[in-house]
Symmetry: D4
C-alpha cells in the first residue's frame, strides 16, 4: 500500500465515529435510541473482525455491538478471542455486549427452513437495535392452515418481517390478513431457475397487498434495522 | 406480392388441412376428440378473419370454429356478417357453429377484474375444445376468505386454470389447497413496474406448490387448449 | 360477457367487503385505525370510478375514500359529479369524505419537480390513511446545501418518504443524516437511458445507508400506506 | 441456533403433516390418490435426508417415499442405511417403499444423453406419483427420422413430457405430431451462450404448437408430478 | 443546421462512393460481383429516398439499385416518380434498374404468413445482389409433413435462408435435413411474451444443428446480402 | 396542487441559485469558468421554457443560456418570443445571449447522418460551455478511408467526442489512432434489434482502446459539458 | 440407471448413424462432401471420448474424425491411447484420421492472443470439414495499421471468420474492407463488465457492415462448419 | 499450437510496437506525452508477465512500464525476478522503471475500504501515465460530514476520479460540489443483490450532476489513463 494512503484508511469503524466533532451527535443519538455499532464481516479478515469488535466494545461497554456476514473462520476466532460474544452459525452473526432493553416487538415470519440464515440475521439485528423478535417459521402459503394457525401471534406484534424465497407469495397473503407495517425480505432460495432471487424480489415489489415495503435480496440485516426502528416508536408498554 | 409467391400462401387455414393426404388423419382425430379449427386474429384484416371463419364453418358445419385475439373491427364484422356467431368483446373471441358436448370440467380461477380478458379467452377456448368451464373470479390472495369460500366448488372440477397478474401468488395458494392438475396463466396486469408480466411469469414457474405448470403471459388460449385436453380424458361421467 | 359470469364480478369494491361475514372484522379494524377504502383508477372507466366512489362514500360517510391513478376524463367527471371531492390533477387522485384526524407526521422529500406526481400521490395517501404529510421539495443531492437547510424540518417528522429518480442518491444521503424509518420511492424520471426506473430501483435497494426500505417504481400510494401505518403508531401526541 | 427457535423448526417433514388436525385431510387425500411424501435433498445434510426418509417410511410403510436432488454423499448414505431403497445416481433420486400400482402412462421424451438427469428425475417422480413412465431418448429434431420412428410409441401413452435443452425445438415438433397433453421441461444443457436455460425456457413458452405447458428449467420433478396427476385420471384400464 | 456542418453531410450515398479516389476500387468490385447500391429508407423522407434512388440509378443505369425499409409514403412516391421501379408493399422495398443475371440460388424458407415482410425483403435483396431466390412458405415445424414435402426443392438450391419467429425451431429441423450453408433470420413474430424476437434470436444461436449462422432480428436484408454472396460463388452453371 | 406546496416549487431555475447564500459561490465560479445556466426542456411546457430562459438571460445578460431537449412547440415559441435566440431544430437546442470566448477545441466525430441530433446537441453545449467545436461527420468504420482522411484534423483538437450508434466501433478505432482524451456517446441509432442503444453502450464501455470514457445513450449534452471542461484547461492559446 | 433405459442410450455416436436405414443417405452425403463425424467432448468422460473416437475411426478409417471441447484429462488420454491423433491443447481439439483434401480457403482473423482457443477450435474444424484455414492474428482495430497490412492476404481467401471479443469492432472494419462472405464469432474475452460475451454478441449482430452473419459466443466450431461449407463450393482450383 | 501459427503470435508486446514502420510514430508520441507501455496480466502466466515487463523495460529503460491485474503468483515472481519493481498487492499492479515527472494532479476519491483495489489500480496508472494522484478515502455519502471536510483538498486537483460501489451516489454528490472534470468508476462492491456492479454502473450513467463521464465496472486502469491525459494538459505549473 502506498505510503500516503496510510492514515486515510481508518483502523476501526469506531475511528470514523469519533475523529470528527460533527459525528458526536450521531453517537449521542445512538445511545438514546438504541442503534448499535455494526461491523460488516464481508471482505474482512477474521483478525480485522475481532479487532474492530473489541475496539467498539471498549468504547461502548454498556450496549451491544453487532457483526454480520461472518465467515466460518471469523466466527471461530470470535468464539475463541471474545469471551461473552454470542455467535450464531446459521445467521452468521456475533454480538458483543448487552442488548438494549427491547421496545416493541417484531414478528419474523418465514416459509421454510432454507430461509433460516436470513431469518436469524434479521433476529439478531432486531435485538441489537432494541426491539423484541418473535420467530414464526414454517408457514409457507402452500400449507395455508399452518399460517392461519399463527395469525393471532403475528398480529400481536408491532411490525412484521416476511422472509420468503421462490415465488415469495407469503408477504401478499400476510398483507391481506394483518394490517401492521410489513417489510418483505426476498431470498435467493429456490430449486430451479429463479435468477438468484430476482423472482422473489419482483414478486414482493408487485404485491397485491398495499403498503408492503421491501429490502434487497437476503438482506435480513436491513429489514431488522428498519423493523426495530419502527417497533421502538410503539413505546415502552409494548407486548 | 411477387408473382411466384402466389399459391404458396394458403387462402384459408382450411386449405392447409386438406391439400395433403397426410393431414387427413389429423382431421379425423380432431372430429373424434373435439379439437376445433382455430383462427388467430392478430395481424389479420377483419375481412380475412370473416372469410376464414366462413370457409372453416362450411367445411365443418357440425362443430365449433374458434377465432381469438380479434380487433374491434374484426369483431364488429363478425357480428354483421356471420349470423349465429357468438362474439365476446372482453375475451376478444368469436365462435361459429355448435360447441361439442362437454366432457369433464375446468375451473378458471382469477383474482381480479383486470384479468377478465384472459379468463374469458380461456373460457371460450375450453368450451370450443370440448370441456365445461367454471368461472371463479375475485378470489385474490390478499382476501383469503373469498378464496377459501370457493374451495369446494373448485375442487369439484377436473383441472384448474389459475389466472394471475402482479405477484401471481394465487397458483401457489391454490396448489396447496387442491390436488388437481393446475395450469397457471401469468398476466401482464399490474400497477407499477412489473416488466409486462415477467414478474408473474417468474413467480408461477417458481411456485412452491409442486406440479404447477404454466403457459406464456396472457395466453388464455394455450391454457384453455391444455386444460380441455386433460379434462376430456376424465370420461363422460364427469360433473 | 357470458351470462354465468354475472354475479361473480362485484359491482363495487364495497360489495367485496360486505358480502362475507368474515370481512366485517376488517371493516371494524379499518374504522378503528383510519385505513380508508381505495379505488385504483387504472383500467376503470370514468363512470366506474365515480360510481364506486359514490357507493363507498355512502357506506362510510364519516371518513375519506381515496381514488388513485385517475385519467383526465375520470378526474373531470369526479369534479362534475361528486360535490365535495378533492381532486388533484398532478397526483391524479380524488378524495371524498373527511380525512381522519392525523396521528404522527410523514416527511415526503424529493429532488425535482419531475417527481411531483409521485410526491402528491403519496401525500394524498398519507392523509387519507390518517397521518400528516410534510412536503420537502427541490432538495436534490447535486445541490447539497438545499438538502442540509431542510434537515431539521425533516428530522421533526416520524417517518421519511424519499422520492427520487435518475440515480436516486437522495435516500442514501438522507439515511446518513437522519435516523428515522425511511421509505424510498424510485421514480421513472430521467433524461437518458434509465430503463424506466430500473436504475433508481436498483440504487435504493443497494443504498449504503442501513435500514432503507422501498416500494415499486413510482408507487407513491404504496409508500404512503406504509408511512402512515408507521407514523400512526407514534401516538396522539405526535408533532 | 438461538434457544427460542427450537420447536419451531420441525424435526421431520412428517411432523408438519400431523401436528395439525387440519392436515389429516391431506394425508387421507394422499393415500387415496397415490401422491407420495417427498423430501427435497437440496440444502439438507445426508443425515437429515436419511432420517426424514426413515421417519416418513415408518409412517407410510405401504407406499413409496421419494427423495430428489440428493448429493453424492446423501445417496451413498441412503444406500448404506436404508435397506430396500432404490437409489439412482443419474437422476439423483431415492425411493423407499413400494410404488403405487400405476394408472395411465407418461412418455418422457428427450433429445440427447445430456438431458438424462432431468429425464430420470422425472421418471422416478412419475412412478412414485402412481403412473407408468415410458422413456423415449435420443430423438432430437436435428435427426428427424429417429423421432418419426418413435411416433406410435409416444402416441400410445396418455401424457407426453418433452425434455429439451439448447433451442428446445422438440416440444413444438412433438406438439404438431401428437394431440396428447404435453408438458415441456426446458433444460440448462447447451454448448455455448444459452443463459443457463433461458433460451430453452423462452422457446417452450413460445411454442408454435398450441397447448404446450411448461415447468421451470431442469424441473423434472415438477413435470413428473403434473404428468402423473393427469395420467392417473385416465382410469385403471390404461396401457 | 450550423453553417460549418454543410458540406460534411453528403447529398447522396453516391457522393460517398466517388468523392475519394480510394473508393473507386469498391465501385469496380461492385460492378464485377453484382453488389448493388443500397438506400436504407428508415429515417429518410420520401423525397430523400426518391432523390437518392434517382441519382444512384443515373450513375449506374445498367444495374439494379435497391431501397429497403420504405414507409408507405416513400413507396407511394417511388411509384409515382420513378417509372420502372419495382415496388413491393409487403417487403417494403423498391428496385430501380435491371437486376444482374443470377448466379446460384437461395431457398428462402419460412413457417407462416406473418414472416412474409422479412421473407420478401430478403428475396428482393438476394435478386438485387445477383442470385436467384426460391420462396418456400408455410412449412412450420408444427406441421412437419409440409416441410418434408418441400425437402427436395430446398436441397436443390445452394444456400438456405430460414426465416422463423416464435420459438424458431425451423432452422434446427432444416439443419438436420439438408447439408447446405444455412442462414437463420429470427423474427419478432409471436402471439405472447417473446421479448420482441429475443426468443427466436436465442433459439437460432443455440441451434442443435451445427453450422447454422444468423443475422439480427427481422434482418431479411442482411441475410439476403450474405446468402447472395455465398450463392454467387457456386458458378454460372447453378440450378 | 395543494396549497402548502406553493413556494416549495421554484418559479425558475434561477431562483434555485440565488435564494441561498451558499449558492453565490457557484454563480461566481460559473462566471469565472464559463459554465452557463442550462434549462432541460423535457417535461416542460413551451411557456415554462421561454419564461425560464428569459429570467436567466435577464440575470446573466452577458453570457449564453442554453436550453436542451426542446419540443417542436417550445422551439417555435422560442423563435417567436425570444429575439436573438439561436434555435437548432436538429439538435433541439436554443441559446440566448453571447457564448463565451472559446478556449481549446473539441472534435465531435460521428459515423452517420442519423447521429446528427446527438452531434448537434453536443456542439451547442460545447460552445455554450466555452470551447470550440469541430464537426467531423460521416466517418464510419465500414469506410475506413474516410476516417483516415480526417485523422490530422481530429488530432489537432484537444478533446475528442465520438458519437456512435449500432455496434459503436468508432471510439475504439479512434482511440487507436489518436492519443487525446476521448469521450464516447453511444446512440440509440440502429436498423434492427439493438435494445435502444444498449449495444452501443456496452460496446463503448468495453472498448479495447484504453482510456475511453463515456456518457449515457444519446447524451450529447453530458459529453459536451465534460469535453468543454477538459478543453478549457488547455489555456487561452489553444487552436 | 434404471434397467429399461438400457438400449435407448446409444453406446457410440456411430450407432446413431447406422441403426436406421434412413441415415445411410447422410453417411453417403458426408463421404461425398467431406463432412466428418464430430464428438462433442463437454460432459463426456475421457474414456467415453476415446472409445467414441476409436469406434468412429474404425468405421471411417479414410477420413478425419473431430473431437472438440476436450478436458485436460480427455486430451491426455487421447494422446496416450490413440496413436496418430493430432491433439491441440489451446483449441482443445483432437483429430483422428487424414483430413480431406482441402477445397477453398478460410481466413480466420482475430485481434488478440486471448481469442486463440476459439481461433484454433475454428481452424481444426475448417480443416476437418474439408477446407484450408489461414490464421491472421493480432490485428485488433486499436492498431489499424496491422490490420491494413494483412488486407491482401485476407482478401485472397474465399470466406472470412472474424473472431473478436470486448467490443468486437473487428467484423465491422473487415466488412468495410473486404467483400467476401464474413462470419463473426463473438468471444467472451474482456477485462471488465462484458456480460460473458453479450457485448461482443450484440455488437456483431448490429454491425454497420452489411451481410455479416454470426454464431454463438466462443463457438469456433460452428463458424468453422459454416465457413468450410461455403469455401468448399468455390471448387477444386481454389488458392 | 499448429506450426503456421508460430510467428503470428508476438513474443512480447514490444514486438508489436516495432515490427511495423507505421508504429514508430506511436512510440514517439508515447515518449513525448508520457504514455507508458502496459501489460495486462489477466490470462498471462507469471513467466509471460515477467518476460514481457523485462523486454519492455530494456526497450524503454528511462520510463515506467506498468503491469495490471496480476495474479498472486505473478506478483511474487515480479518481486523475485525484477529488482526495482514496485509491486502493489492490493491494486495488483507492478511498475518497472522511473515514472515520468508528474504534470497536473488527480483526486482519486472513494467511499469505503472495499473499493481500495480499484482505487490503487487507478493510482498506479495515473502515476505511470504522468500525473500526480491524491487519494481521498472513506468519504461515503452516508457520512456527509467526512466528504464535506475533504472538499477543498479535492477541489485543488485538476481532475476527479470517483470510485463508488453499491448505489454509487458519490459521483453525483461530488459533481454538485466541485466543477472539475469528473470520471466515475462504478465498482462491483456490495452486500446484496447488485448484479455485479450493474447498479453502480447505471447510477453513474444517470447522475443528476451534468458532465459526469464513466468507465467500465472496476476499471481503475481506464479511469487512470483518461484522468492522467486530462490532467497533463493542465501544464507544468500544476499544483
Amino acid at each position: 500500500m502506498p505510503a500516503e494512503y496510510k492514515g486515510v484508511v481508518p483502523e476501526t469503524e469506531h475511528a470514523r465515529e469519533t475523529d470528527l466533532g460533527f459525528a458526536r451527535i450521531d453517537i449521542d443519538r445512538a445511545r438514546r435510541t438504541g442503534d448499535p455499532e455494526v461491523v460488516f464481516g464481508e471482505g474482512k479478515t477474521p483478525e480485522q473482525v475481532v479487532a474492530t469488535l473489541r475496539a467498539l466494545h471498549r468504547a461502548h461497554p454498556d450496549r451491544a455491538v453487532l457483526a454480520t456476514r461472518l465467515s466460518d473462520e471469523a466466527r471461530e476466532l470470535c468464539r475463541r478471542e471474545l469471551s461473552g460474544a454470542a455467535v450464531d452459525d446459521v445467521g452468521r452473526t456475533a454480538v458483543l455486549g448487552p442488548p438494549p432493553a427491547p421496545k416493541g416487538s417484531v414478528a419474523v415470519v418465514s416459509a421454510g427452513t432454507c430461509d433460516l440464515p436470513v431469518v436469524l440475521e434479521c433476529v439478531a439485528t432486531v435485538r441489537a437495535f432494541g426491539s423484541r423478535a418473535e420467530v414464526v417459521g414454517d408457514v409457507g402459503v402452500a400449507g395455508l392452515h399452518r399460517l392461519l394457525a399463527q395469525r393471532e401471534r403475528i398480529a400481536g406484534c408491532h411490525v412484521v418481517v416476511a422472509v420468503a424465497g421462490m415465488e415469495a407469495a407469503l408477504p401478499s397473503v400476510l398483507g391481506g390478513l394483518i394490517g401492521l407495517p410489513l417489510i418483505a425480505v426476498p431470498t435467493s432460495v429456490g430449486y430451479g431457475w429463479h435468477l438468484d432471487g430476482l423472482t422473489a424480489w419482483l414478486a414482493v415489489l408487485n404485491s397485491c397487498a398495499p403498503g408492503v415495503v421491501s429490502v434487497n435480496v437476503d438482506n435480513g440485516f436491513g429489514a431488522g434495522v428498519a423493523a426495530a426502528r419502527i417497533a421502538r416508536c410503539a413505546g415502552p408498554g409494548a407486548v
